[in-house]
């Protein structure tokens, strides 16, 4: 059980502060207080709080600073506070809060340091600590890297506990009843005689007290909410069509805009003719923006129609116009001077390869991939003399705030970012071009709110995609065992491309080039993973699971090929090589769940795959059947070590969704460039999975590691590998590239 005394020394102290008509509970930030976003108007010295709980006359508000793109982040964050605060989720308002450096994300740091998540040495722990401080310095209020749960797990429960105990102290002071005789439930303190005092009524008194910091977090055996099925805070709205998203924004006098910018990314606009567009019904203006043109109209469709009528001359792209040159660049990158990292170098791989006469040599490819969440990207911006308001679904509100301030020449604190519910993201809303463009347009109409909506085609064209990547494997097997495993991976740096668009240099190696490969817990005697950094090509960004989305495929399919060459059983050999106990248990679980080894009908095959990413070991078994009409994915079994399943329903939904995401893209999706432009324009070109293709997916969450982890991304990396391995088992065809439909047919 964590007591706040020990936790506070290394992180933060829970504090409270008076607000109008009530009290707010939260944290003093790390070492030095960071200015507080929610307490404007307070006296100096009181404003050193990062509030997570606010109680005033309007009720109880829980602040959930990690954005919700459908993963249930608001619900999870609210539940962690509510568990200790003794409120029910139907009693509280959940608000994402404003962007602020105080809401930094410490858990992202754990995955940025060059130590594998299974490494708990002093060096690993202290380096993670340094990275933690750096992130805090940068004030990254980022939702990403599956970090919401690990980042929030202690922080939010402590905030709830301190608030609860302070409210009890207020009740004791008001009634004379000893704190020990008070109980709390449903947002109220209960006296021994059954009388209740609501938190709302107690808030003004609580604000005058020192917060009660001597609290212990409750024992997991007593949890009311965590680990049990909860009703998501947004589920009624999302089951009745009443949930609104950024794209549904309406404001008085609002106008509607859309853009066309150079499809040859980073290229210039040479000129345009808007004669026809300007004459179309409802068109209010046509304006030049960075890299292209915007149409402003009185509704969305009229803006789309007029944008399509623009005649624009585009300059060349800043990268090779055809795909062959992109692949060639990767192929040319397996050289010493592009070696970025070789953190995994066990035994003597070079000697093994040199002395062997039967080296297994293979190559793999993974394409650019678009994110394309179903809600097209959009932003609404209102520019006024003394302030700018931005309404949008974003994972990076702090960057948005800074960028809008820079574009408009305002101070950062004059920019107010209102984070709205997102209709999916998968990493797409870690970019903010749409906000910058909306700001440029809104600056031409001060005092008028402008909503910018992308057409699906514009969204596809300008999706900062998943990385393109290539891998080469060489290995040696002896006496039925994998003896040498050498994997080289080449890709451009995702982080450099992404942070480059924010004007931030990223020094040092990029761990994403080898993520999902170098840190795998296999005890192969001669084991090497090398990351090669290719020069920048087309813009790339974080796509669900980032580097591991391609590397999990490379690493495990290559392992499967070596195990096949050794003549060993795919499950048994992985288990034999696995040294990390929590990871081993995921393999044992899927073996048991799927009855691995059972006789299968003719034409049916099973593949197993494993990947440790974002600190989560995941094993999957996929069963496919090969039919005259093509491959059918019948069943998936998945076991994931997550430390703690916060909500079994949301867990199952997210795991299934991650697998559907990975398999759909592995089957049929890619982004390609021709003449410098993205060729895929809508879902008919990059479809993903549909209902008729969705397999049965059996899910099990394991809780052996003690480390609480997020699950948004880690299901993705092993799925494409398990599919390839299953197709091999069923057909004898080894699929070494995605989309796999290039090699085999799917029903």
């Amino acid at each position: 059980m964590s007591r706040i005394g020990t936790i506070a020394r290394r992180t933060f102290l829970v504090a409270s502060s008076a607000i109008v008509g009530g009290v707010a509970f939260g944290y003093y930030a790390y070492k030095r207080p960071v200015a507080n976003p929610l307490l404007d108007g307070l006296a100096e010295g009181e404003a050193a709080l990062t509030p997570y709980v606010r109680i005033d006359a309007s009720g109880i508000t829980l602040t959930t600073p990690r954005a919700d793109s459908g993963q249930g982040a608001y619900s999870v964050q609210a539940a962690l506070i509510a568990e200790e605060l003794d409120v029910e989720l139907d009693q509280v308002r959940v608000d994402p809060g404003p962007p602020d450096p105080a809401y930094y994300n410490t858990a992202l740091a754990a995955d940025a340091a060059p130590f594998s998540p299974t490494d708990n040495s002093f060096a690993a722990r202290s380096t993670r600590g340094v990275m933690d401080a750096m992130l805090k310095f940068m004030g990254l209020q980022i939702t990403g890297g599956s970090t919401t749960v690990p980042d929030s797990f202690e922080k939010l429960r402590l905030a709830g506990a301190v608030a609860r105990e302070t409210l009890k102290a207020a009740a004791a002071q008001q009634t004379g009843v000893a704190v020990a005789d008070l109980r709390t439930a449903r947002g109220a303190v209960e006296l021994p005689d059954g009388e209740t005092l609501s938190y709302v009524a107690l808030a003004p008194v609580a604000a005058t007290l020192e917060p009660v910091n001597d609290v212990a977090l409750r024992d997991p055996s007593t949890w009311r909410l965590i680990g049990k099925p909860m009703e998501r805070v947004d589920i009624v709205a999302k089951s009745t069509g009443t949930q609104t998203y950024g794209i549904d924004m309406e404001l008085d006098g609002m106008v509607h805009a859309t853009v066309r910018t150079n499809p040859r990314r980073y290229g210039e606009m040479l000129g345009f003719d808007d004669t026809a567009a300007r004459e179309m019904r409802g068109v209010l203006d046509v304006v030049s923006i960075t890299g292209g043109v915007a149409v402003v109209a009185d509704n969305t469709w009229r803006a789309f129609q007029a944008a399509a009528a623009l005649e624009i001359e585009w300059g060349p792209a800043a990268y090779p116009p055809e795909m062959a040159a992109h692949w060639q660049t990767l192929s040319d990158s397996f050289v010493e001077d592009r070696l970025d990292t070789r953190f995994r170098d066990d035994g003597d791989v070079a000697a093994m390869l040199e002395n062997a006469t039967d080296v297994v040599e293979v190559a793999y490819r993974a394409p650019y991939l678009a994110h394309q969440p179903l809600e097209p990207i959009n932003a609404t911006v209102l520019v006024q003399d003394d302030r700018v308001d931005v309404w949008t679904g974003t994972q990076i509100p702090r960057f948005v705030q800074d960028n809008v301030a820079a574009i408009t020449g305002k101070d950062t604190d004059q920019v107010h970012v209102h984070v709205l519910m997102m209709g999916g993201s998968f990493g797409h809303r870690l970019e903010d071009r749409v906000v910058r463009e909306a700001t440029e347009i809104a600056m031409t109409r001060p005092g008028t709110p402008v909503k910018l909506t992308y057409s699906r085609e514009e969204d596809f064209t300008h999706d900062d995609t998943r990385q393109i990547a290539m891998a080469r494997g060489r290995g040696v097997v002896r006496d039925g065992r994998v003896e040498a495993y050498d994997l080289g991976i080449a890709m451009p740096s995702v982080i450099a491309s992404q942070m480059g668009r924010q004007g931030l240099p990223v020094p040092g190696p990029d761990l994403q080039i080898v993520a999902g490969a170098w840190e795998q817990p296999f005890a192969i005697p001669n084991y090497r993973v090398s990351g090669y950094r290719a020069p920048e090509l087309a813009p790339i960004s974080s796509w669900r699971a980032v580097g591991a989305s391609s590397n999990g495929f490379f690493h495990d399919v290559f392992l499967d090929e070596l195990i096949h060459a050794a003549g060993a059983d795919p499950m048994e050999e992985r288990l034999r090589l696995m040294w990390h106990d929590p990871s081993r248990k995921t393999l044992e679980a899927v073996a048991e769940m799927s009855d691995w080894g059972a006789a299968l009908p003719e034409g049916t095959g099973r593949g197993v795959a494993f990947c440790l990413s974002f600190g989560v070991p995941v094993a999957q078994v996929i069963e496919v059947s090969s039919t005259d009409a093509g491959i059918i994915i019948d069943k998936v079994w998945c076991a994931a070590e997550v430390g703690r399943v916060i909500d079994p329903i949301m867990f199952e939904n997210m795991v299934q969704g991650g697998i559907v995401w990975a398999l759909g893209h592995a089957m049929n999706s890619e982004i390609t460039y021709s003449d410098g432009m993205v060729e895929q324009q809508n879902y008919y070109d990059a479809e993903g999975m549909r209902q008729y293709q969705a397999p049965q997916i059996m899910v099990r969450g394991l809780e052996n590691s003690g480390a609480v982890r997020g699950i948004g991304e880690p299901m993705v990396p092993p799925a494409s590998a398990a599919l390839s391995n299953a197709i091999f088992a069923a057909t004898g065809t080894r699929v070494r590239e995605m989309p796999m439909a290039k090699v085999v047919d799917f029903v």
């Binding site: 089951s239 069509g241 009443t242 549904d248 179903l374 809600e375 997210m654 969704g657 008729y692």
Partner: protein
């Protein structure tokens, strides 16, 4: 032109070829119907015209041949349709953006076929994309709704 939506008669001044989707969203401020692709590839804009599920991005305003029902007309948080109740009970939604269209498609399926098989569900629902991959729950919710509607 005149349009009847969720039982209310509206008179709108729009081009004949403006898609019903945009008439609903921008002219009538009915936001439950969603824009996803604009080319009938995703089903997020699914509404009913005289009970038939259609992609509202592909129906021109002038061609609307009957009464329009959107998700708001199917049921409300206070009085949910059986399909919405099942979506709620199964907690189907992740981002939820496609779900209004999914529910309208499912409601039309169940109005015609009270006990759909897996193959019937595949046929009816495969035009509705869910990028979050909630397909297993969508299938389960349709079966629950079917059962409930049979009992009613």
């Amino acid at each position: 032109m005149k349009l009847k939506v969720n039982g209310t008669q509206h008179d709108v001044d729009v081009e004949d070829d403006m898609p019903l989707l945009w008439v609903l969203r921008d002219a009538l401020d009915i936001k439950g119907v969603k824009f996803g692709c604009g080319v009938a590839q995703c089903g997020a804009c699914t509404v009913h015209i005289d009970g038939e599920a259609v992609r509202s991005c592909q129906v021109s305003a002038a061609d609307v041949w009957g009464d329009v029902t959107t998700i708001e007309g199917l049921g409300t948080p206070e009085a949910m349709h059986a399909v919405q109740q099942a979506w709620h009970a199964h907690q189907v939604a992740q981002c939820g953006y496609c779900q209004a269209g999914q529910m309208m498609q499912a409601a039309a399926l169940l109005a015609e076929n009270t006990a759909p098989s897996d193959a019937d569900i595949d046929d009816a629902m495969s035009g509705n994309l869910c990028r979050c991959g909630a397909y297993p729950r969508i299938r389960a919710a349709i079966k629950t709704a079917a059962q409930k509607m049979q009992e009613a």
